[in-house]
């Protein structure tokens, strides 16, 4: 059992805005700070572009977690896309709950272009948290069972 848990490699999709978070991820790269490889990045111009259907699609297609990263409040390259994204995320969280998807599987956070270290921490935490939750389908089954 424990054996299985540690060998579980979560699949996580990360939606990163082009201007801050994606640049923050690049910063972690130039600093060569390692982090777990489980988060696959899908770049959008702004976190405001993240349509809830993208998140649903990711879970449907086998993601165990989704993380949305935006510019800090007030720093969005497009002024206020991240506020919309944060609003939408609150709605989405409720929706996910209804679907029986645990809260920890979908996260929203802020990473600026300078915050390479924060990016590494956020990603590392997310991977650990989803790893602890186990694969998505399993936990869903556990719920319904």
């Amino acid at each position: 059992m424990t054996e299985q848990k540690t060998s579980f490699e979560p699949k996580i999709v990360g939606f990163l805005c082009n201007w801050c978070s994606y640049a923050g991820a690049d910063k972690a790269g130039t600093a060569q700070s390692p982090y777990p490889p489980n988060v696959d990045v899908v770049k959008v111009m702004c976190s405001g572009r993240v349509d809830p259907q993208f998140v649903m699609k990711a879970f449907e297609k086998g993601a165990d977690g989704v993380i949305i990263l935006a510019c800090h409040p007030g720093d969005c390259h497009y002024k206020e896309g991240n506020y919309r994204a944060a609003q939408r995320f609150r709605m989405l969280s409720r929706l996910l709950k209804q679907f029986g998807i645990e809260e920890g599987r979908c996260r929203f956070d802020y990473v600026s272009a300078g915050e390479g270290e924060k990016f590494v921490t956020v990603i590392t935490d997310m991977v650990a948290a989803v790893r602890a939750l186990g694969p998505l389908n399993k936990s869903e089954q556990a719920k319904t069972a």
Binding site: A28, Y35, V41, G48, R49, Q53, K61, A63, Y78, G81
Partner: protein, 650 residues
């Protein structure tokens, strides 16, 4: 479809971690024909050449570049695609250096991750649409609103480059606040003299023919966007022809009526026909229709009879509506002073000889109400003057911010009082002292060295009170029970946005910050751009500042315009914008609400929302917000992003 996948080794930066052979064998088998090539340094001249050659020779239709961050070289490779004869948007870049090779400890995992990313890029690039940059014709002319130092500096620079400028000034006089100030900090230069060269050039300099100056005018409507605005201006009659009038002033003396002169802060009177103050430019008087007898229907023409020039006075002058086409707009409407009656204990408006800084400037001015004599309401020279700094500034109950200029003009006043009233006592009541800059400390030091100047610190303006006793003003501080006597009190009110700032903002669709100043695009990087493309901000309408910063912002606005809008050059519109599919739009207008750039408008005739491509910055917020999926985000379409999601997960 033939897709070329180009894997850059980046020396050993990528190839040390990611096994390109394994990536190659792991490529998906889909409908598209895939070709996989490795290149050593793709961004080098050789690398770009081999990329171009391979695309051409092998009839590649779509390109996946697996290399460094697109933030580094996306543009580089897009240009290679163009050179190779395919649309540059038919490429997807995979960031395997910064976001895989450099951050993944395990080689195998890094290789797997690169494989997933390349797979996703293949899925996505299959769906890419070729996109074209659009070009639109622009009008290089410029509208400047406000003829203070900021607006005039911009206008002159633009005119000097040979462009047409329309200046709209609300009052009959140009030069803004400083032309009404006798001397200026930090170097005690004469205000009107310092500005004279700029004013002179505006009115009759070498490039004056490029400048259309509309005084007593107001912008009432603006439509269009960057490159092509149509502006409607209403100009009130001046009743004098600024070109014919020789400025002799013969008309003034015979005029039988007068009223308070707002250009002297109501401290003196002005005839129905007169100049705002001596030396005001343009050098032609104007008629105040509110009091002019002729305008009231009486048979008076005393001014016209006295005028030596035919038709210089025009009684039947009328309001004009002027429409101009411009490519850019500069807002330079300046600021106001905080209403001191909001701190009633200071006695402003109730107790005589309690003045604001601007009023005191007029008192100091040789063309002011007392011709530069500092006098109390009793006509006496004050023996002591109290200057209260920070009136309403740095105060959560009033204005939270520091107005930045008040300390400096307070010490300027110190200097001028010393000169005009030798031996007079000067009491500075201050909350904080703020004197930044390499020149500005001189006046402060000077005040400190003056044995007649005292500095009294207070904590909270609410504990200060000004009362009057036998002509003396008594300033008490209830916090410590202290009191000081003075013959005159000068308040240094916070610099605040003008009352019209809101109205003009609405016309321009430009936003304001929480204090009501025009909001800049970015506080550090772009304080001269508003959040509306093509609308620039200069001077104290954006934030309190001194003349130096004001002039710099005026120049910055000119710089943006001269580099961005070039006569004969078209405006390039990047194709990553939103597009509404008109027949799917339900008319809910959510998109209009969410767009931060006011780029979406609802077209009632079409019955659909429409995106203005010039204004759209391509954030995609409306795309995600549209409940019926009627908006397509070019290059980030739902299908493209969904394909990428599936690609990384499969």
């Amino acid at each position: 479809m033939k897709i070329g996948i180009y894997f850059c080794k980046c020396g050993t930066n990528i190839s040390d971690k990611i096994d390109s052979e394994k990536v190659k064998t792991g490529l998906p088998s889909g409908p598209s024909e895939l070709s996989f090539k490795t290149i050593d340094f793709m961004c080098s001249e050789d690398g770009k050449e081999s990329l171009e050659k391979d695309i051409k020779e092998n009839g590649i239709e779509r390109v996946v570049v697996s290399a460094c961050s697109p933030r580094d070289h996306e543009n580089t490779f897009m240009r290679v695609l163009s050179k190779a004869g395919i649309n540059p948007y038919l490429m997807q870049m995979v960031n395997v250096r910064e976001q895989v090779a450099w951050v993944t400890e395990d080689n195998e995992k890094a290789t797997e991750k690169a494989g997933r990313y390349i797979n996703a890029a293949i899925c996505r690039v299959e769906l890419h649409d070729p996109l074209e940059k659009k070009e639109i014709d622009i009008c290089p002319d410029v509208l400047v609103i406000g003829a203070g130092p900021a607006g005039l500096k911009t206008a002159l620079s633009i005119a000097e480059s040979g462009r047409k400028v329309v200046i709209v000034e609300k009052t009959p006089v140009i030069g803004g606040m400083p032309v009404r100030f006798e001397e200026l900090f930090p170097n005690m230069e004469c205000g009107p003299c310092m500005l004279e060269p700029v004013l002179g050039d505006i009115l009759h300099g070498e490039h004056a023919e490029n400048i259309e100056l509309l005084t007593i005018a107001e912008v009432v409507d603006v439509v269009g966007s960057y490159g092509n605005f149509t502006v409607t201006v209403k100009q009130k009659p001046r009743y004098s022809d600024i070109h014919k009038c020789i400025g002799c002033g013969e008309c003034i003396e015979p005029c039988p009526v007068s009223a308070k002169n707002i250009y002297n802060c109501n401290l003196s009177e002005r005839k129905a026909i007169s100049f705002p103050f001596a030396g005001a430019l343009p050098n032609a008087p104007f008629i105040d229709e509110a009091i002019c007898l002729k305008k009231k229907g009486y048979d008076c023409s005393l001014c016209k009879d006295a005028c030596p020039v035919e038709d210089a006075i025009i009684f039947d002058d009328a309001e004009r509506t002027i429409v101009r086409n411009v490519g850019a707009i500069v807002v330079a409407i300046g600021s106001d002073s905080y209403d001191c009656t909001k701190i009633p204990d200071l006695g402003y408006g109730k107790i005589p000889d309690v003045h604001t800084g601007v009023e005191f400037e007029r008192i100091l001015a040789s063309n002011g109400p007392t011709y530069g004599e500092i006098q109390t309401s009793q006509g006496a020279a004050p023996k002591s003057v109290a200057i209260i700094h920070c009136v309403g500034s740095l105060d959560k109950e009033h204005k939270e911010y520091c107005s930045g200029i008040c300390c400096q003009y307070a010490f300027k006043f110190n200097h001028l009082i010393e000169n005009k009233l030798p031996g007079a006592k000067i009491h500075h009541f201050y909350k904080e002292l703020v004197i930044p800059g390499k020149e500005d400390f001189h006046l402060y030091n000077h005040a400190k060295e003056n044995p007649n100047s005292t500095f009294i610190r207070y904590n909270n303006i609410e504990t200060l009170a000004v009362s009057e006793k036998e002509g003396k003003k008594i300033i008490t501080n209830s916090a410590d029970g202290s009191s000081v006597e003075a013959d005159m009190v000068i308040l240094c009110p916070a610099v605040v946005p003008t009352v019209e700032s809101g109205k003009l903002g609405t016309i321009l669709e430009a936003t304001h910050d929480k204090f009501g100043f025009f909001e800049e695009l970015h506080g550090r990087m772009d304080s001269t751009q508003s959040k509306i493309k093509g609308v620039y901000l200069a001077g104290t309408c954006q934030s309190p500042m001194d003349i130096q910063k004001t002039m710099n912002q005026g120049m910055a606005a000119a710089g943006y315009i001269l580099s961005g809008l070039v006569a004969g050059r078209k405006l390039e519109i990047k194709p990553i914008t939103a597009v509404v599919e008109e027949d799917r739009c339900s008319g809910c207008r959510v998109c209009v609400l969410v767009c931060p750039y006011k780029a979406v408008a609802y077209d009632t005739e079409k019955g659909s929302s429409v995106v203005n491509e010039v204004l759209c910055q391509g954030c995609g917020t409306c795309v995600a917000a549209c409940p019926v999926g009627a908006i397509k985000g070019n290059h980030f379409t739902n299908n493209e992003i969904l394909a990428e999601i599936e690609g990384v997960l499969s």
